[in-house]
Structure formats: C-alpha cells, structure tokens
C-alpha cells in the first residue's frame, strides 16, 4: 500500500471546523446536530465522520459518528445518543448549542454505503437502537432520489420512547418498515415484541436468493446475532454489510 505524498496526505486528512446550526431533540437520550461544514466534499449514505473535541487545557477526544442526513441535504446531520458513563456523548446530548464549533474529519468509509445508483437489487436494512442512524441516511437518500428499489427496514428499539425518527418511519411505495419493541410496547401493540429472530426475518425480509443488499448496524451483540440469523436463512455472507458500534451501543 503506497503511502501518500505529504502534499496529498495534507489534502485528505483534513480536520475541518464544523459549526452547529441547529439541535433537535429526537428522544430523551438522543439529539440531532445539524452542522455547517465549509468545503464539505459531500458524502455517501452510510458513511461516518470523526469528531474531535479539544478542551481548554489542550486535552483532545475523538469519536466516530454516523451521518444521518441524505447526501442531497445542504447540511450534515449527526444523531448522537447518550452513552452511560461516556466522556463525549454527554456534551453532544446535554450541552451543545447552536453556534458551538468543533472539528470533524470525513466523510470516511466506503464499505458500508449504499447509493440509488448501486443497482436494482432490493435493500434490506436492519437497525438495533441508534444503529438506525446510517440506515436512515440510506432511506432519506432513497427518497431524495425517488428510487423505487424495494426496501425493507427493520428497527429494533427497547421502547417507543427510544425509537429515533419515529414520525419519519412510515411506509411508502416499495418501502416497508417493521418495528420490534424488545422491552416496552405501546398500549394495544400487536406487532413484534421480541429480539430479532428467524421467524421475524422470514416474515419481513426479501428472499435470501433475491440478490438483496443487506446492511446491519447496531451494538456488536445485536449485529453478531442478526448477521448469524441472516446466514442461517441463506443470505450470502458477501451481501451482508455490518457496522458494529462496540459493546455499549455507542462509542461514548
């Protein structure tokens, strides 16, 4: 792997200043930050960026966060969920205000991405908790491009209060959205109320031999479970793209 010339490297490893334009409360534990990033090069749905915070004493902390917004939007949105005992997420969820400035590097990661130009194969998106964030970028991109790719989104959340983007999760032509609430269900709920299992996937997913592109995102135990179930059902491992957040469901 040839290293870059220093001049070219300097262009690529750009930390840019991002200005918080807007903060939206998504759930009691999650906020969406809309950022203005001058000279943002654009991103693909599913990519993430690295954020660097610098304290007054020079101490720096870096974290990776998935991009929630469609590439077509004129700003970059991150949805950040509070991680218990986290060092960085409390700032973003409880403190940050419009006008705040921090550094971002990205977008990065081309493996976990989908484009409306990727082809006509069906799309199967499976999210655990805040693993919905990069998958929502794909759903939003799909809508922005008026794509008719048959798409299924399965979201696993602990309770309705924990569900991100609840108002936006509505069926549309060729878009089917299924939810499962693993701990607390709304009154009168008749839908799924358990962890993802074989029967649930059989009920909602396209056929394993449909050529579907599959994206799974969430805490590592969730992704391990779901990718194992998908392989059991006959989905070719090469078609399954996974993004694991680690044990806690976030990177603190």
């Amino acid at each position: 792997m040839p290293p870059l010339s220093s001049e070219r490297a300097a262009r690529r490893v750009l930390w840019r200043e991002a200005v918080v334009r807007d903060v939206v409360v998504e759930t009691p534990r999650a906020r969406t930050l809309a950022l203005d990033v001058p000279d943002w090069p654009g991103h693909r749905a599913g990519q993430h960026l690295d954020v660097r915070l610098t304290a007054e004493d020079g101490y720096q902390a870096e974290r990776s966060y998935s991009i929630a917004s469609a590439p077509e939007l004129d700003r970059v949105e991150l949805t950040i969920e509070l991680v218990d005992d986290g060092e960085v997420s409390p700032y973003f969820v409880e403190v940050v205000e419009p006008g705040d400035v921090f550094e971002v590097r990205g977008p990065v990661g081309g493996h976990f991405t989908w484009s409306a130009d990727s082809g006509p194969e069906p799309l199967l998106l499976i999210a655990g908790g805040s693993g919905l964030v990069p998958l929502m970028a794909m759903v939003r991109h799909r809508a922005a491009r008026a794509s008719t790719v048959p798409t299924t989104l399965l979201v696993s959340a602990r309770s309705p209060e924990d569900l991100l983007y609840a108002d936006e999760l509505v069926d549309a032509p060729a878009l089917s959205i299924a939810r499962t609430y693993t701990r607390t269900q709304p009154p009168g709920w008749t839908g799924f109320a358990r962890r993802v299992n074989h029967d649930m996937l059989r009920a909602v997913a396209p056929a394993p031999d449909s050529g579907a592109r599959v994206f799974v995102c969430g805490p590592t135990p969730f992704v391990e479970l779901v990718t194992g179930l998908l392989v059991d059902l006959g989905f070719p491992p090469r078609t399954i793209h996974a993004e694991r957040f680690g044990p806690t469901g976030g990177t603190s």
């Binding site: 792997m1 690295d50 990065v108 990661g109 493996h111 976990f112 590592t220 391990e224 694991r244 957040f245």
Partner: protein
Amino acid sequence: MSDDADHQDGNALAGLLSGVFAADITTVVRRCAFCGDASPLGAHRLYRAAGLVLRCPSCSDVALRAVERDGSVSVTWAGVFEVPTPTASA
C-alpha cells in the same frame, strides 16, 4: 470466528488511516496470508488494544496494527492488499 462483544468493524479505522493511504481502506480487499480468505477491510474485525488491531473475519489472523502516538501513526500489516490504482480525480 470469535464472538466476543467488544469488537467493531474495519469501517471504524477509516478516519485514522485516511491520513496514511490514498485509497479508502474500508473497500480495499485483503487476502489473508493464513487462511486465504479475501474480504474488504471494512468487513474485518477491529479490536482496541494497545493500539488498533484489525483481524481477518474468517480466521482472526492479525491483518493490521495501527498505533497513534505523538502526532504520527505506526502501521504494520500482513497479507496481500488489493489497492485500486489512484486516478487523477481521486
């Protein structure tokens, strides 16, 4: 291979290594020198130990180690990495 709960994917290395390689490393395919499996680095498993350790998803062989220190990144890697040739627009 391993089923421990604390690993991530090679995707999470992309930012750090964007300063090292011209290619987006998550789509670079690595053929494992140990088991022969060919997988994109984004589908490898990432462990945070003394530095970052990327392992083959098939056999857990160490594919890459990256240690960030004093403003530089030390990288060691094993296996064959298929890196797309940069184009003028890259």
